[in-house]
């Protein structure tokens, strides 16, 4: 079963970290990454650029309209994601808890929809 681990961050909590704490966060995350690659559970994942680099796209009457900046202003934003393929939801939650951002802001675990299915 594949899960997406959505990693949230907020400027307030991030700014409060010391440089050493930020380095440790990077280190812990890359350690987890190698563990997941090694266990054969890692499918993909990326860090996202600062929300100020976002460009919103809306199509109205067939015309795309772009707006700079995040779609909505929020206190917490999506800072990155990991996709894992693991045995159970319990295991996915265990991995999510190991993402250092879970201790600072939060991580959300969502199942990824399967493209296959059984007739009923």
């Amino acid at each position: 079963m594949k899960y997406m681990l959505l990693i949230y961050s907020s400027p307030a909590t991030w700014d409060a970290l010391t440089q050493a704490e930020r380095d440790e966060l990077e280190r812990a995350h890359s350690e987890l990454y190698y563990e997941l690659v090694w266990s054969g559970e890692w499918v993909g994942g990326n860090a996202l650029a600062d929300p100020s680099r976002s460009v919103g796209v809306r199509v109205r009457d067939g015309v795309p309209v772009t707006t700079d900046g995040p779609y909505v202003e929020v206190k917490e934003h999506l800072a990155g994601y990991d996709v894992v393929d693991c045995e159970s939801l319990e295991r996915a939650l265990e991995i999510a808890a190991r993402i250092p951002d879970a201790a600072i802001c939060g991580v959300e675990v969502r199942p990824i929809m399967d493209v296959g299915g059984m007739e009923m």
């Binding site: 559970e41 399967d114 059984m118 007739e119």
Partner: protein, 489 residues
């Protein structure tokens, strides 16, 4: 053409292999050698040979991890060379020889690496072990693990000419290497997902890229899983040979479950871009057919094969052209594959009276009853209810109760079905599962409780993590409030 033979490779090795190939060809009806074959039949030939080649090399060297890699490389070499140069007279011998050479090369290069690490002087190529020198890199740990590494004096080449090494009692295990490998790949030290991946590679002869593509994960991820699975087997001390006494039954059950999972993975594929995944049903049927041929008296093997055939026969009718799911009751039965249905029905009919009845046979029997109905309304539901009752007694499981409830509703009405599933809401294994909610929705719809059915279909569509199922469930919900909804068949 002659097999490429490493220097010093005794000709007897090829001779032995020829005998082995001849024997397996006899048991399998597969030609021992083919002429200039079409790509499809070459692929079939190679994949049929894969487990036997692996078995032959494993029996000599025991090192499952490296041997399996070496056999994959040999298969790849054959797939590249044979179309141009023709299939060798003795394909099995050719593959064994090439795989053995790759294995030897790998041991040598590992030994050379260790030497280099141990001594800076070894950087000079002149000090590297010469070809044919007994390799210091004979995998001591693996040899100790399996008790069948290359002999200390002769090296792999000499061992290739000698008698196969193996655990005591090996000779009494008169079963094909394919089955031995399958049982090894389904070792209890592995998770079901790892058993599936390793079986597809080592027994079915698929490449890691193909398996990764079927399971929609990056190739590197699948490589790691397969490597880990092989290590786990080595760490558990398992060897290539019959499972220990008392383990056979459990291992066989795990093997059948693995084949079933491979089949299901392919069967649930619904869209065209999932071709690799859809091919898994063919792989599962091919492997199960081989096991059935080796163990014709095993009723559960026959039952599983019949179940796969009867299920696969419905594939052309189970989805619309755009990938939407069609429930059994609404399938166009003229699109069912008659030949597969016939084979499945004949197989289960012949098996049931003479074998010890088990869950796969009962599921196949249920599928056969469905297959025998020309129209959905001709279905012999009382017989299906009876079969589900037997199944529930033998293999109690909430999924069986759900299917039974649908059948009971056809015989005794939807309220009887709803009563049967009521306790499942308190069963942790299935409470909150979309299948329970979907069956409840179906039974409520039959009972005429449209509002409750609508709510249940909507809830089920939120609970499922399958896109085609979600589409189907939303369609059901929509047609309850709007009978003109396009999803209406």
């Amino acid at each position: 053409m002659d097999p490429p033979r490493p220097a010093g490779q005794p000709a007897t090795a090829a001779g032995q292999s020829a005998t082995a190939a001849g024997q397996s060809a006899g048991g399998d009806g597969r030609p021992a050698a083919a002429g200039p074959a079409a790509a499809a039949s070459l692929d079939e030939l190679l994949r049929g040979l894969a487990p036997r080649v692996l078995g032959a090399v494993l029996r000599r060297y025991g090192d499952f991890d490296r041997t399996e890699d070496a056999v994959q490389e040999a298969l790849l070499a054959a797939a590249l060379q044979w179309p141009g140069e023709g299939v060798p007279r003795n394909p099995h011998g050719w593959l064994v020889t090439v795989a053995t050479r790759r294995l030897t090369d790998q041991w040598r290069s590992e030994a050379a690496r260790r030497d280099r690490e141990a001594n800076a002087a070894a950087l000079d190529p002149a000090t590297r072990p010469a070809a044919g020198t007994p390799s210091a890199g004979a995998p001591a740990a693996d040899a100790a693990l399996t008790g069948s590494g290359p002999s200390a004096t002769g090296g792999p080449d000499a061992a290739a000419g000698g008698a196969p090494a193996g655990p005591a009692g090996w000779a009494g295990w008169a079963v094909d290497d394919t089955l031995t490998l399958l049982l090894l790949c389904c070792h209890e030290a592995l998770s079901p997902a790892s058993q599936v991946a390793l079986t597809l590679r080592a027994v079915a002869g698929l490449t890691t890229a193909q398996i990764a593509s079927a399971f929609l994960v990056p190739e590197a991820t699948m490589t790691r899983r397969i490597t880990r699975a092989k290590r786990s087997i080595a760490e558990a001390g398992a060897r290539f040979g019959p499972p220990p006494d008392g383990d056979y039954g459990a291992r066989m059950q795990a093997a059948l479950h693995t084949l079933y999972l491979i089949f299901n993975e392919g069967y649930t594929a619904t869209s065209g871009d999932e071709l690799h995944r859809a091919e898994l049903t063919g792989e599962a049927i091919r492997l199960t057919r081989q096991v059935h041929r080796l163990l014709p008296a095993d009723g559960e093997v026959a039952g599983l094969l019949a179940l796969m055939l009867l299920t696969e026969a419905r594939r052309p009718a189970r989805t619309t052209a755009d990938g939407a799911l069609v429930p059994l009751a609404e399938q166009d039965r003229s699109r069912w594959d008659r030949a597969q249905l016939r084979e499945g029905i004949d197989l289960i009919t012949a098996t049931l009276p003479r074998a010890l009845i088990g869950p796969y046979q009962l599921q196949a029997a249920i599928a056969a009853v469905h297959a025998e109905a020309a129209r959905a309304e001709d279905t012999d539901w009382p017989q299906i209810v009876a079969l589900y009752q037997l199944l529930e007694r033998r293999a109690p499981n909430p999924m069986v109760t759900l299917s039974q409830a649908v059948a009971v509703a056809e015989v005794r009405g939807p309220r009887a079905g709803l009563e049967l599933i009521a306790p499942l809401a308190r069963d942790d294994r299935i409470a909150g599962h979309h299948r329970l909610t979907a069956v409840r929705a179906h039974l409520l719809e039959l009972a005429g409780d449209t509002a409750a059915a609508h709510a249940a279909y909507q809830l089920a569509s939120q609970q499922t993590t399958s896109r085609p199922e979600q589409r189907y469930l939303r369609g059901r919900a929509a047609r309850l409030v709007d009978p003109q909804h396009p999803q209406r068949p």
